[in-house]
């Protein structure tokens, strides 16, 4: 079962609550066809109209519905960004936005279908929760938290996955403890296994989270020493601001790893893009090793 399958199954179950409305723009409409037949007033497919998709979500929320809005990441977050800003936030209403595609799940499709900047863009808004599950089994609980809440949530699904699920990892969850004083690596969502493999021979504590916003600042302050590494499956540095603010009162160094800004103009597979962006275990190992060496006491 993929994250998308898990989402479709969970979201369909929420339609038992008449306040839930699923809003689509053709993408995944087939997957929700059965739900649309059973709940015709609660599954809305506006066609290939992303501005309308988000505007409709705003209108639904104004009447008290809880919209779940779903499309491919660049079309959901980037194409209709002003609708997200104005039709949801400015109206003082919330929605649950659920994307598929992530940074480069369909690398062979090219730039139009890549959305490495989605989380950074959502992060320009105030008060959003961002979930980046690392395994399909993490999706149902995250969707439930989102749909049962009132404010806006972005749920970023991917075809990439860790081997094992941690369903309760909103706060930082230590998956490898290298002892007191060790560098702390925070891995967000599906990059956890690569990050663990990368530091297998290094004195690095690894903590996992699938909720980069709000970031677990308390957990970070409890775990962090003076060496910080953040590995995110989207634009590198997206969480650098949050980490810097959380550790502003103590000397620290921060290495932010993630997807680069440059447009590579290359197709290939998601694994190829991992390698080109230095997010495969070997690339992560090189960057982290250099970072720790550079920070080591001289002599």
């Amino acid at each position: 079962m993929t994250m998308r399958d898990a989402f479709v199954a969970s979201a369909t179950r929420f339609l038992d609550d008449p306040r839930t409305t699923i809003v689509l723009a053709d993408i995944s409409a087939d997957a929700f066809a059965g739900a649309a037949r059973r709940y015709p007033g609660q599954v809305v497919n506006v066609g290939i109209r992303e501005q309308l998709m988000v505007g409709v979500a705003g209108g639904l929320a104004l009447t008290g519905q809880r919209p779940i809005v779903h499309s491919y990441a660049p079309f959901l977050v980037e194409r209709a960004y002003e609708q997200i800003k104005l039709d949801l936030d400015h109206q003082g209403v919330g929605a649950v936005l659920v994307s598929i595609g992530a940074s480069y799940d369909r690398a062979e499709a090219g730039r139009t279908h890549l959305a490495p900047a989605d989380v950074a863009l959502i992060d320009t808004l105030d008060g959003w929760t961002v979930h980046v599950p690392g395994h399909p089994d993490e999706v149902p609980d995250l969707l439930r938290d989102a749909v049962c809440g009132q404010h806006s949530t972005y749920l970023r699904l991917s075809t990439r996955s860790n081997a094992r699920a941690y369903p309760q990892a909103g706060g930082l969850h230590v998956v490898r403890d290298a002892g007191p004083g060790a560098a702390l690596l925070v891995a967000v969502g599906p990059v956890r296994d690569e990050a663990l493999a990368a530091v297998a021979d290094l004195p690095v504590t690894v903590a996992y989270t699938h909720r980069p916003r709000p970031f677990d600042v308390t957990g970070l302050r409890a775990l962090a020493g003076s060496e910080m590494i953040v590995v995110e499956p989207y634009l590198a540095g997206t969480s650098a601001r949050v980490v810097a603010e959380a550790l502003a009162d103590r000397p620290h160094r921060l290495l932010s790893l993630g997807v680069g800004r440059a447009e590579l103009r290359r197709y290939g597979t998601a694994e190829d893009h991992d390698r080109w962006h230095g997010l495969d275990p070997a690339g992560l190992r090189r960057a982290i090793g250099d970072f720790l060496t550079a920070g080591a006491p001289v002599g």
């Binding site: 809305v44 209108g59 929320a61």
Partner: protein, 278 residues
Amino acid sequence: MTTSTATRPPGRLLPAPVVAPLERIRAGDAYDANVYSTVDVHWVLYDRVLRVTPATVDDPDRDRFLLSKGHAVAGYYAVLAAKGFIPVDWLDDAGGPDSRLGGHPDRTLVPGVEIGSGSLGHGLGLGVGTVLGLRAQGRTTPRVYVLLGDAELDEGSNHEAIAYAGAAGLAGLTAIVVDNSSASHGWPGGVASRFTVNGWTAATVDGHDHDALHAALTGHDGHRPHVVVAVDTPRHPAHRPADADRPEQAGRSEIQAVRPDQPGRSVAGDGPTPGSGK
């Protein structure tokens, strides 16, 4: 009292109850012509059409009025004050640092205002979603009215909403387009045709004729979305300068221009000024 008019400011015919509040919010400044092109529609809606009162602004079964062209706000605030939705003294410091009334309305600050608007092309999508929400809740009574401008129709988001609302048969939706010929490239074939081709019913009326507006605003057939095109004709008395009989002044209410697509047609000078919205 609904169609009585007064002549304030000079030369402009306005619904009598909004004259005083409009003067108060105007505070001596000149207004964009869109105030005058739209205030009659605002007045007829709140006086004769909308089933909403200051006591029912949170009633889920109220009618909704969504002002999409958020710059047409002075007449809106004047009508809301005249109808008791907001205290009249709020009009005195509109736009000030402690005011709830801005140059574009904010629904979280003003009782009775259904949406915050200002960036064009957002109201109709929000209106479609509102109709869908009411429908999902089985509320068949409320109707959703969205006010746009003809230049606002330039925004493609409107056409997403027009096409979908027609296809989905959103019978609870009425769009009102105040047509003051301000779209830079015009709408050859007319504004209404953009809607009717998508399955809407349409009525095109004099945007200052209260009885005609009332008939059009209540003329939906209950099966399809409805559009009212409220034409703001340059020849209407609302545009006649007070001293139009003085030859040297007569031409000042209009800017003569020729549209490339409609040779010889003059364009009313009551469109938006740059920076005032569209």
